[in-house]
Symmetry: C3
């Protein structure tokens, strides 16, 4: 049954979703009516309710107060606004920590984390689990058939970690499942190193404060466990909701490239993939990073539509210095998400709080009220979304896949590696940018994905790779695909053990090249490289001592003539290896050659700088992230801009932050 | 009775006070006689004794050794040197922490702070309180009638904070008094946010290490409580001293703009306001910051004289790199304090310690002995102060008030605000500098002060403002006053809750202007602004989206023409609002216009840069903080420089670090 | 008997030692045979085995598994490779911490440090001691007569610190021995300061987290105790080894200028001085710092040969960004150690680990295997060492001594000093560099050393100095020696108490100069100084207010003409004092004058920049650390380069990283 649920369950009959987090419990009821009226005027059709309301719903252990929530849901139903009802378990009330201190998390150094903020629970605490399921069950029972209820929102931004003895116990249970016996664990963790041999399961602990670098295999398994422990809790809530309130899709809000949780293993467990995303207004890389994040969500949703659960209309409050968004900026960002597969565009939050730690986080209705620049833009944007309803459900076609993996990320970014300046997400973003700039759509996929439909597969870094995944990449090339592999890939196996022999050992054959030394580069002068035509480019941070073993040397290190970039025809396909970190212009040039190998072109031939082009269904979105007005030539002979309703032929003029949706 | 006590009790018959902390317990008694002789030669007439002598006075619990102190006080009496006798409770001996570990403070993360340094006590510990009062009582009983005893010095530089369970209990008692019932507390703290509802008083804790941003209202009340808990201890010692040794004024040494303690609530509880001040020799802003600090002390003393309890003759030891003071520097600083209302100029410390953590802190007698450059200057300064005795007791008249408030400071500088670069004390100092540079005297006052006597009231920032204080500012303008309000003021109420509507809500009417967005500015380029005459200036860090509502727009943001500075005639007065942070030159220009509105001028029309001018009684002090010799034109026809005894007419020549005291 | 043991015991019949850490327990036994064959081919004749094998040798408490180690030692013996057998006590297995948590160390803030990395033991734990001695005894019993056993390696890189209650108890026992009675301790620690009087031994604790700066005398004694507590453990293991396996020399590997352990007090306790040294490839000061470290080892070995136990063939893994070594670099470093007295050149480690925290640390056999650039260099280097066998046992003659002291280092670098920018090791290195650049050999010696044989004694900084050591320096000068003393020397006595009077009090007479103020200099402009000939130089960070008292003023501070550098003829000798930190060129010029006073010259008159020249026995080593090829003129008429076997006359040509060994 759950297979039938998804974003379409929400958009059917509603069109694109528009709304935000709604926390009426922070306001006297007389404000609620104004809220509902303003929502209607702004085209809001979905609100998330109850994310942090455990203390309000269960003010004392076992004492329930649901009346206010009844009235909120009735009010929403009366205004035809769907409700994304949250289980309130992201933040237990003080009474839980006070009566059961063992539910409070312990950090790596042994400090207890107290209530007074939010999220203070140990994911492995049986008391927390029991109390959480009780309130979730009561919520499900009460609102199962409520007409406003459209979506379950389990918890919030999962990411809690706890190092307590209860967590240690759960970690041991998890390890027992993974390894079966202690000898296998000792082998996997390499406990002959530094005398770490475990003689009894009871000795095994989470990584805790230690005199020096902790065993990287222990840390990798700990990260896996932490993600799984949270997932287990999520599943418990989800199962209860499905049982007590069937027919309602279930989600939990992700946070993009968020390290603590392996979303590849989570996404299949929910009916709707949703995400919270807050670009930094002052970051020039934000448009590309945002696009990448959206493409990751689409990957998690297996190409189906997803929901932007939280974004911000203006400045957030949690950075040290929170820049505002100029007029038009949040609309630009919202339409970017739509263009990249979102069918719902929601905000944190509806009305700015007066109190609490997020008083200064922007909202759809600011402190100054509805008669403001900001709310006027919110209302206009809500209204214009109605004209884009046809986009709902449409796919974003992509011929390029970019591989990203949480376990590899975790394994890579440990202490004690050659350089802490080669990072998984930075590497991912650098490889993504040239595609983004060319208007080439990219799917972000896990290493285990079926790659057969793609013309090009890019692996910016895959430090950890399993045998099967390596074999699949090889087979993909042999079968005619084009593959690009970035530096320091194929280094360790899933136990974080170095694969001996020349690297990247499991891809050596398909790449026709291999290396024997990783050589981080000094910071004070760039690495000079030379294309085979003699022109030079700069690279940085990283070099490798490589040898071509059949591959063509596309670029070499100027200092010693060793290979820097290689290209190998293997079977029907082509495999590239990049043993350094080229400057952006060089990486872009390289991307051009790779795209040529794959026969892939961008949406538009000559995209002006700053303009993003992405196609969704039969609509071509053009978004100007730059600071100047540009003319974008378009090939269509008869086209229409869905946002203006005007015909678009020959070219489109985009002022800064303007968007066109050409059909 | 206590009303009659004050600085005058000390200066009557003694003139200006000169001296320092004296720790004879660190030296063999044969050194004491040399000390006394050197003190006499240097004009020392007040020494602070016993600040850290608990361990010496009570070497074991209940065992007292007062003989040495008898001899010290007798020696001082014999040399006609008054004693500021300290209660030794700032630092309990190791035996207290060893036998009663619960007296040791616990930090926010749960770490116990041990003995081995100083100040290791929990302000809410009943054991500490009991033991402290016992030794204080014994001291009072023994020295009540001693001829040397002139002043009680309670504790030292109060500022201790503890997060232990005993502190939690005291915090709850304090909250119960403040809020009466739990519902009111829940409302005040906004506990519907993030599920923080308290169902039982016992659940309430100090802010402790938590997964994320702690409730700002909880933190604000915690800061209030911490200041009050220390004050309660101070009061207990003071009351005992007054009871057992009546007629002796009581003080405790403040530390200027010291965040943990709300000195506005403390100052009325002591007979003499005293302060410790250590300007950083390498800081070009130090002269202005020092003047501001002194003006704050005068404000705390309600315009009466105060005592500079600690300053340094030379380098301190607690900065990473401790710059020395060039010859003449400490005299310049000492006379600056005198000019701004100090009737006593004391130093930490008399003789440099050989051991302990402050071995390398300068003193009046350095390690190298009395036959040194430094001690010669000390002696000369002590002697010249006799010629300035007439200044004692004289007021420093000021027509400008600058409002500063601890609660607002606390509330402002919490995590989760628009920008951590807008700070209360930086803002205060930037607004103070133009007055300092013009020789315009300023009183620093609390928001609740009677403003009626001032021609100009400056509010650099008042993030938190109560209704009554906001109304008083409004009434002040209506009645003819000139008011200047800086950015991000009037934002929250005393519960730290945002005042909804256009800001600054409670001052909107009197300002004739209001805003709807706070917009921190990017770091990488300045904010361009334009005066109404078309000339431009730069601002930084902060902008606001403002609208004039009756006010004149004095300056606008160049980018969008929105108001940046407004001026509003309201009733008989004028109210200015500044919605950005102008560069110093622009803030100075603005100050010129504001002073013109208020009809206030500086002490001298054309003060050379680096020269401070301040009038105390009928003496005009001119202090050269610059590095070049300057001529200062003075209007007096017949005047005398009290420091040289020479006539001063037409102008005064000041070499670097020179001072003139013109009468 | 132990007096007869030493490096010669190892090199007799073996020549120079070459090898590394060998961890066969990390590999299947089939790899061992390849290891042994590769070792033979590379000339390896010494391997360190078992450093972290406690968990492998004693997988459960009391359960022993020595079979694998038997086979390893037999294999080595069969290949004529000597074994440096380690006691495995540097890292207890998890079962120790799990069953006896009191063996786990506690840091200064009270955090327990767990297993999962290495080194997690409390040096004062009786349980740890007992268990460690049991396994050490068993090891000694088993391998006492094994033909492979050549050296005992006790523990590894000692440096553990623990603040637990058991450590407190041991600290008190240590203090009782040092001070006898509590009154003496109170006097020594200056506990009248800040009320720190101890009324009972039980009150005394290690320095733990405290509200402010901890008593520096307490901290100094704590550092002494921590070094001694480890030494006591070392001694216990050593004594057991000597008893059970007599005739085998004992060592433990030092770490150069490693602050936690006073190697002067350790070196006499072992038969062989050995060291681990890892120069930072990107640090231009690395060649000089390495030379200095080697000279310190030679000082620790009292001029006898020492063993370079660990160095790296290539990049390490524990820096944030680990630069590789270019071809020839590790050989250059290895020969540098040989030239400065090492008779053994070993590496961490033989074969790169696949797992554990040091997977990415370089080795003699890299992950990529033996058919690599790196291993080829290893093999060539091992082979060329045979040609240098005659160097073994030869001394490195030096006429200059440089004084360095751990207690002074500890005492100096405490919070609360005039400047944290004057550090003991930086100061040592700056004074060392001009000698290194001139090819003047230097012995690093403790303050208590017999100085009579030296023509020149340099004291870059001796903040703490005892009366006897000060008198010895004075007598040295009177007897005809040349002495140079750097700033902030002679300040405190061994109790860390400031010596009152003009400084440096105990050296004032011999220096004929003294001071009254330490005056750190501002960062933003240099200190201008002037030689007596009128030429200027720059200094930084530090100045002093000095007066000549018989000494000649060699340089003065330009600002006020005060002495900056003085020179005093005293008795038959000359004593220099330097009251600032001259820029390198000025310090070099000063060194030239000092060398002239002492009649000392370098090995070669005109050494090109970057070339190190050092004589060992009758071999002159020339090492090119620079990046260009240079010609070095040599005075020999008939000479031979031992490395090439070619004659060397007139000059030697050195490409970058080249070395010549001229005889």
């Amino acid at each position: 049954m759950t297979a039938r649920l998804g974003m379409h369950t929400l958009t059917e009959g509603r069109g694109l979703l528009f709304g935000g987090d709604y926390n009426p419990e922070q306001w006297p009821e007389e404000v609620w009516a104004e809220d509902a009226a303003l929502m209607r005027a702004a085209g809001v059709n979905l609100v998330t309710v109850g994310v942090f309301s455990w203390g309000r719903l269960e003010p004392e252990p076992g004492v329930r107060d649901f009346g206010w929530l009844d009235r909120v849901l009735d009010l929403m139903a009366g205004h035809e606004i769907a409700v994304d009802l949250a289980t309130p378990t992201a933040s237990p009330p003080p009474w839980l920590g006070h009566r059961w201190p063992e539910t409070l998390p312990i950090d790596e150094s042994g400090h207890r984390l107290w209530y007074g903020a939010r999220n203070q629970f140990c994911p492995s605490s049986p008391v927390y689990r029991e109390r959480a399921l009780e309130i979730v069950g009561a919520l499900a029972d009460r609102y199962a058939g409520h007409p406003a209820l459209a979506l379950w929102h389990v918890g919030n931004e999962y990411g809690q970690v706890c190092h307590c003895d209860e967590s240690a116990k759960a970690f041991r249970a998890w390890l027992t499942k993974r390894y079966g016996d202690l000898g296998t664990l000792n082998d996997a963790w390499g406990t002959t190193f530094w005398s770490q041999h475990y003689s009894d399961w009871a000795e095994i602990l989470p990584p805790r404060l230690a005199p020096y670098i902790i065993n990287p295999a222990q840390r990798l398994d700990w990260r896996r466990f932490c993600s799984d422990a949270l997932l287990e809790h999520f599943r418990a809530e989800r199962d209860l909701l499905r049982e007590r309130a069937p027919g309602i899709p279930v989600t939990t809000n992700f946070m993009g490239l968020f390290k603590p949780v392996d979303y590849w293993s989570w996404a299949d467990e929910e009916d709707v993939v949703s995400n919270d995303h807050y670009p930094e207004p002052g970051d020039p890389m934000a448009p590309a990073l945002t696009a990448l994040t959206h493409d990751l969500m689409r990957g998690l949703a297996k190409g189906r539509p997803w929901l932007l659960m939280e974004q911000s209309t203006n400045a957030v409050n949690w950075r040290p210095h929170n820049l505002p968004k100029p007029p038009g900026q949040f609309r630009l960002e919202s339409l970017q998400a739509l263009a990249r597969g979102a069918d719902g565009l929601c905000y944190f939050q509806w009305r700015a709080s007066r109190f609490g730690a997020e008083r200064f986080h922007a909202a759809m209705v600011p402190h100054a009220g509805a008669d403001t620049r900001l709310h006027a833009e919110v209302r206009a944007h809500g209204q214009e979304l109605r004209g884009l309803a046809a986009v709902a459900g449409e796919p974003v076609p992509a011929r390029v896949a970019m591989v990203f993996d949480w376990a590899s990320w975790w394994a890579l970014e440990e202490r004690g590696r050659p350089s802490d300046r080669l990072n998984a997400t930075d590497q991912l973003l650098s490889y993504y940018v040239p595609y983004f700039e060319r208007g080439v759509s990219v799917d972000v996929v896990p290493p285990s994905a079926d790659l057969s439909a793609y013309a090009l597969v890019v692996v910016p870094n895959l430090f950890l790779v399993g045998d099967r995944d390596a074999a699949a990449l090889t087979a993909y090339v042999r079968g005619g695909g084009v593959l690009v592999v970035g530096p320091f890939s194929g280094v360790v196996d899933p136990r974080a053990q170095v694969r001996t022999g020349r690297f990247p050992a499991p891809l050596r054959e398909v790449l026709g090249a291999s290396g024997e030394e990783w050589m981080p580069a000094p910071d004070d002068h760039p690495v000079r490289c030379r294309w085979s035509d003699g022109t030079e480019f700069e690279a940085h941070t990283w070099t490798e001592l490589l040898a071509a073993e059949g591959a063509e040397v596309v670029a070499e290190f100027a200092e010693d003539g060793g290979p820097a970039v290689t290209r190998h025809r293997s079977g029907e396909g082509v495999a590239w290896y990049v043993g350094t970190m080229p400057e952006p212009a060089a990486l872009s040039a390289l991307t051009g050659r790779v795209l040529a190998d794959a026969g892939v072109t961008g949406e538009l031939p000559d995209l002006p700088p700053g303009v993003e082009a992405v196609r969704r269904g039969d609509v071509l979105f053009l978004l100007n992230h730059g600071t100047t007005t540009v003319e974008v030539p378009i090939p269509h002979t008869t086209a229409e801009d869905l946002l203006t309703g005007s015909p678009a032929t020959g070219h489109v003029t985009l002022t800064p932050r303007a968007v066109a949706a050409i059909r």
